[in-house]
């Protein structure tokens, strides 16, 4: 009994560690990547030099760290934490303080349903590498993502600022609009793999089509994949869908936030990005699946086999999942530094008039194809 709890806590810790680290490194990568893309240097100043004779030898070690701006996230953190804990005059103080917690909480909780590996057999136990093994995992994730709107609306309402409130309303309507598309696109996946359980969906992607192509979501639902990715991008409110924040121009729901509370919003944003990457990986890119890797090792379509031990298989699975997630994070950031922002009417137009009908059509076509295949 207690060992089960300990295992669950351990899994949760591992997941948290992965997510928070990726999110943390995110801020550094975003800085440096954008700098290199835009012919700049990026952060290369934050740091310190040791004066004490005993520690001077550390300075040459520090130099590349400073040069790469690796201490910049730390400096940012220090600045945010050291800032005054401020809440707007006339605002709802309690709600104002709790809004970022809600937002961050719901951003994190979703990860509990994401599988980052297959079942691990150790000491006679079967441990599913997933924090919460839910039959309706995918519904759970969307529910949590939906609840994230709460944090945003609360922040807008409690700020006693018309602009923050408008930003929150923009954010809420945007998230709700794209959630519909998001849900509709995933229906196709559910139909193909016949389960709402994300672990089952990932396992389903281990099969091969025509004996050589991994049966990943992207291959069976290419349109769904693009729609899902776009809608998820809109859901995270990142460029080109960052109207609710409008970081420097149209000011958004966190106008009245600063210091740690603002930092939590930023962190939650990065966490959401990781979430999108993880979901895309899970639903469309085989999750922890590695092509041709089976429980006993690699079985290639041309018949060759490479035996891999159980722990090796699990390790490859976890690493494969992580690499995929990181790649998608990278893609999301590249998109951020590539595309300009949409206008609000274009945003709504895209969501309701284009993506939703197409995703509904996708469901119909998917159903038809499944029916045809079964009939044949």
């Amino acid at each position: 009994m207690w060992i089960d709890v300990a295992i669950k806590v351990g899994l949760a810790m591992v997941m948290m560690l992965i997510v928070i680290n990726i999110a943390g490194i995110h801020s550094w990568v975003e800085r440096k990547q954008s700098a290199v893309i835009q012919d700049r240097w990026g952060a290369n100043r934050a740091g310190f030099t040791f004066r004490a004779p005993l520690l001077r030898w550390l300075n040459p070690v520090m130099r590349p760290i400073i040069y790469l701006g690796l201490l910049q996230p730390l400096a940012d953190l220090m600045k945010l934490v050291a800032k005054e804990n401020w809440s707007p005059v006339g605002g709802m103080k309690w709600l104002h303080a709790s809004a970022p917690f809600f937002y961050l909480l719901f951003a994190f909780v979703g990860f509990s349903a994401i599988p980052f590996g297959d079942t691990l057999h150790v000491a006679g136990r079967d441990i599913s590498l997933q924090v919460a093994h839910l039959n309706v995992g995918f519904v759970f994730i969307f529910a949590m993502a939906g609840l994230g709107v709460y944090g945003i609306v609360l922040s807008g309402v409690s700020s006693n600022n018309n602009y923050a409130f408008l930003g929150a309303v923009r954010a809420a309507s945007q998230m709700i609009s794209y959630e519909v598309t998001l849900g509709a696109t995933v229906i196709g996946i559910v139909m193909v793999y016949g389960s709402l359980d994300l672990q089952e969906i990932v396992r389903g992607q281990g099969a091969l089509l025509w004996g050589w192509l991994p049966k990943w979501g992207v291959f069976v639902q290419p349109l769904g994949c693009i729609l899902f990715f776009t809608a998820a991008l809109a859901e995270t409110k990142r460029i080109p869908f960052d109207l609710p924040e409008g970081e420097s121009e149209i000011i958004g729901y966190f106008t009245e936030y600063s210091g740690t509370k603002f930092g939590m919003f930023m962190l939650a944003d990065f966490v959401e990005t990781v979430m999108v990457a993880a979901l895309t990986t899970t639903l469309f890119f085989g999750g922890w699946q590695f092509p041709y890797l089976h429980a006993s090792g690699f079985v290639f379509p041309w018949g060759a086999q490479v035996a891999v031990g159980h722990y090796g298989v699990v390790a490859i699975q976890v690493i494969s999942f992580l690499i995929k997630v990181v790649l998608f994070c990278w893609l999301l950031m590249t998109i951020r530094w590539t595309l300009p922002r949409f206008r609000y009417d274009q945003l709504m137009d895209l969501g309701w008039k284009r993506m939703l009908p197409v995703s509904l059509a996708n469901i119909a076509v998917t159903g038809l194809v499944i029916l045809l295949i079964e009939a044949l």
Binding site: Q33, D39, T230, T334
Partner: protein, 198 residues
């Protein structure tokens, strides 16, 4: 997004290529977005490759970043730039300023503070007792130089690196202004202090 599509014959900015109606592939945007991502990625890879080469001392002539790393590298300051003020001295070292307050009056930023007093020499009659310029407020418009009837204030010290740890530290007093000297235009230098073309 057909409303984004430019109708033929609409006015385009001078020099901009005329764009016709968007094609189907442009309008569904996915392809265009992918192309954009490709361009960004190519840019990233090129610059990253150059940065890496620079690290090992290769391809120094190909820039990876266009930014000037300021305190180490300096940009060229053209000779006619309006730089930090100075007050011109007479031959005996006293300020040429007669405290007429023309500069104080014309100053749009109100950053000049002059208090005048009687000069012992009746042929000079008036001199500044206090002459402060608050560089924290100065907008470097050069009106003070234009307004001065005595050619007593000039902006030719070529000093552009003006910073202080406090607001008071940004205030130049008469002594500091008198200590200023005209200087040659600043050349662009690299991080090693070598002259470069910039």
């Amino acid at each position: 997004m057909e409303n984004v599509a430019r109708k033929p014959g609409t006015v385009t900015p001078a020099g901009a290529p005329k764009r016709g109606p968007l094609s189907f592939w442009e309008r569904i945007y996915v392809v265009e977005a992918a192309r954009g991502v490709w361009i960004t990625t190519v840019h990233f890879c090129r610059n990253m490759w150059r940065h890496t080469l620079h690290l090992v001392g290769l391809a120094k002539d190909k820039q990876a970043a266009v930014t000037v790393q300021y305190p180490e590298e300096l940009r060229y300051v053209p000779p006619r730039s309006r730089t930090r003020h100075r007050i011109v001295r007479r031959e005996d070292g006293s300020p040429r300023c007669v405290g007429c307050m023309m500069c104080e009056t014309i100053c749009p930023a109100r950053c000049i503070y002059i208090v005048a007093e009687e000069d012992p020499d009746p042929n000079i009659e008036k001199r500044p007792k206090r002459f402060d310029i608050d560089l924290g407020m100065c907008v470097f418009c050069g009106f003070c130089v234009e307004a001065c009837p005595e050619d007593a204030i000039r902006m030719d010290t070529q000093m552009v690196d003006l910073a202080a740890y406090s607001r008071n530290g940004m205030i130049l007093t008469l002594d500091q202004l008198l200590a200023g000297e005209p200087a040659a235009p600043r050349e662009a230098t690299n991080a090693l202090g070598e002259r470069v073309h910039g």
